[in-house]
């Protein structure tokens, strides 16, 4: 794995289309420029329209990007794959380093509590929840379980077992189409908050601070290209 020296990185692109809302962000020496959107359909079109606009506005070209942060999932299969097809192609063309974000850890990091149990969850595929348990003490996050995927029904049962835990927090990221599911799940936790993107420096630090904590499965297999993180490997 190549080591990226922070001082060399002047322009960083962040791509997260793993789950709505999608995010595209560019950090330059002048500041951080972000866009979030809810893709209705045809992500393959909207992503490119947005990336072209974002880079053009900052007078940047794909070749001028020094590093790319990408969320390889868990998330929507198609959204994750479109992002990885894009960043892996840029990596191939310009040898741009690609760093995987840990989507569930990112959600847990943004949870507001200082100390205690956190369940980070993503709902982006109908009747399927991806989640992971953490313990947070100040800014240190310790994973209590590996990432898991389960049906909505099983996740509801799981929530019922942890809701007695003191200070338990569910931090949640979901597409707008899953609002009815949220209501059912939220009843199990004393504190629940929906994850939302915020633009600006604070947002970037959250992202950058937690990147590269988990390497993608493909990297472990020796591939230099990033693979999606599937919680459902067997079809």
């Amino acid at each position: 794995m190549s080591i990226i020296h922070a001082s060399c990185i002047r322009r960083t692109l962040i791509v997260d289309t793993s789950c709505p809302p999608c995010l595209l962000s560019l950090k330059t020496e002048e500041g951080i420029f972000s866009e979030t959107w809810i893709p209705q359909q045809h992500l393959e079109s909207t992503l490119f329209e947005k990336i072209i606009t974002l880079l053009a506005e900052q007078d940047c070209t794909p070749q001028g990007i020094d590093a790319i942060l990408v969320n390889p999932g868990p998330g929507t299969y198609m959204g994750t794959r479109v992002a990885l097809a894009l960043v892996n192609t840029l990596a191939l063309l310009y040898k741009t380093p690609v760093i995987c974000l840990d989507g569930l850890r990112l959600i847990a990091h943004t949870a507001p509590q200082i100390k205690g149990y956190i369940c980070a969850a993503i709902c982006c595929i109908r009747d399927e929840i991806f989640y992971q348990e953490f313990y947070k003490d100040a800014d240190v996050l310790t994973a209590l379980s590996p990432p898991s995927g389960s049906s909505l029904e099983d996740f509801s049962k799981f929530c019922a077992t942890v809701h007695q835990t003191e200070g338990a927090v569910l931090f949640w990221r979901a597409g707008p189409q899953f609002s009815e599911i949220q209501e059912r799940i939220f009843a199990s936790f004393p504190f629940v908050q929906a994850f939302d993107f915020t633009s600006g420096l604070d947002f970037f630090h959250k992202y950058a601070g937690i990147c590269a904590e988990r390497r993608s499965p493909a990297e472990k297999c020796g591939s230099k290209f990033v693979s999606p993180f599937y919680l459902k490997p067997e079809l």
């Binding site: 393959e44 490119f48 990336i51 479109v82 840029l90 310009y94 079809l235």
Partner: protein
């Protein structure tokens, strides 16, 4: 004296179904052939073994596999071609028809390359590209021309009176020929894709022992329907389990061949075409190719088919059509979308038979 257009170099990508295919090729597009055609490199990685146990292609599995392999293959195809990305003039990619999840992988890679390298993006209709595989073996088209495309998911008859005009005059109303052959092969427990086993049986049997229906043979239109033939065979096998497999498959193949042959050449006579082509995965069938060649010779019509290697899904044919799109300025924007179906009318197939002037 008008200057001749320069040769262009392009990269073609096809991820429409279960094969990841990439090609680098160059040439000069002419109306009836490609001048100085050079296929610099061509790689196709089939996923058939990974779908074998499911008895058909699993869309999610196919999309995952495409993403796993496309970038290493892209590196490989460029290395084999001995060209730098910066030397490319265009990128051609299949955007219809196919499995959406699979199409999106190739399209995203192509769009990224087009955007980053600032070269034209060419959107290719996979079915339309099949006959153009004939150009890879140096064939010249003679217009008017009739194309029978027997691809995995589609069976279509296309009339092309000149290089810019396309008319779909017939298509399958249910199963395509190749799809039907695959299903019949599966009925006998033969591996996928089963078309080649059906074809092998037809070659091995010299005398027909059974007779199966020949759907739509007597109809005046040029549409096809093969699902009834498949059902007839299914019922026959249930009633006659002792019937030798090869003989049954040969009789099935014969029915299919008669329908394809008769309808194609009836259309050829009606529209007075000078040439007939046979392409698409099922067009690799030796039985079908021989029958078409023989019949064309008898009727005094020129005949062409791609080499068997280029009948199945491949990026080289996408590249050949890419040469045409590039030469005619048919460029796409980043708004190009994946389309799972073959809409009629569509850019490649503007009209039905009733609209043929």
């Amino acid at each position: 004296m008008p200057s001749s257009p320069p040769s262009s170099l392009g990269l073609a990508i096809d991820t429409s179904f279960d094969d990841t295919s990439l090609a680098v090729l160059s040439g000069i597009w002419r109306a009836d052939h490609v001048q100085d055609m050079h296929l610099h490199s061509h790689i196709t990685l089939s996923q058939s073994h990974t779908h074998q146990r499911f008895g058909g292609v699993v869309p999610e599995r196919a999309a995952r596999q495409h993403l796993e392999v496309i970038h290493p293959l892209l590196e490989e195809v460029m290395e084999q071609a001995g060209v730098e990305f910066s030397a490319l003039d265009w990128i051609a990619v299949t955007h219809m028809p196919g499995l959406v999840g699979s199409l999106l992988i190739g399209m995203t890679v192509a769009k990224t390359l087009s955007y980053a390298l600032q070269i034209p993006l060419l959107g290719i209709n996979h079915v339309e590209a099949h006959p153009y595989a004939c150009f890879l073996s140096g064939t010249c088209f003679v217009y008017p021309i009739l194309h029978l495309i027997v691809a995995g998911g589609h069976t279509v008859l296309i009339l092309q009176r000149d290089p810019e005009e396309w008319h779909s005059i017939g298509r399958t109303r249910d199963d395509s020929a190749g799809e039907c052959a695959d299903k019949v092969a599966r009925l006998f427990g033969l591996p996928m894709p089963g078309g080649k086993y059906v074809d092998a049986a037809a070659q091995a049997v010299s005398e027909l022992c059974y007779i199966f229906p020949k759907p739509f043979l007597k109809e005046s239109h040029f549409d096809f329907s093969f699902s009834g033939l498949k059902s007839a065979l299914q019922r026959f096998v249930q009633a006659h389990p002792e019937a030798p497999q090869d003989s049954v498959l040969a009789a099935f193949m014969h029915s299919m061949q008669v329908v394809l042959l008769e309808k194609t050449f009836r259309a050829a006579r009606k529209y007075n075409v000078q040439m007939v082509t046979l392409s698409g995965g099922f067009g690799a069938s030796v039985t079908l190719r021989n029958a078409f060649r023989e019949r064309a010779a008898k009727e005094g019509i020129a005949f062409a088919c791609p080499t068997p290697h280029f009948c199945t899904d491949n990026a080289a044919m996408i590249g050949v059509l890419g040469l045409r799109h590039y030469a005619t300025g048919c460029f796409e924007t980043m708004r190009l979308r994946a389309c799972p179906n073959l809409p009629l009318p569509s850019p490649g197939f503007p009209t039905g038979e009733s609209d043929v002037p």
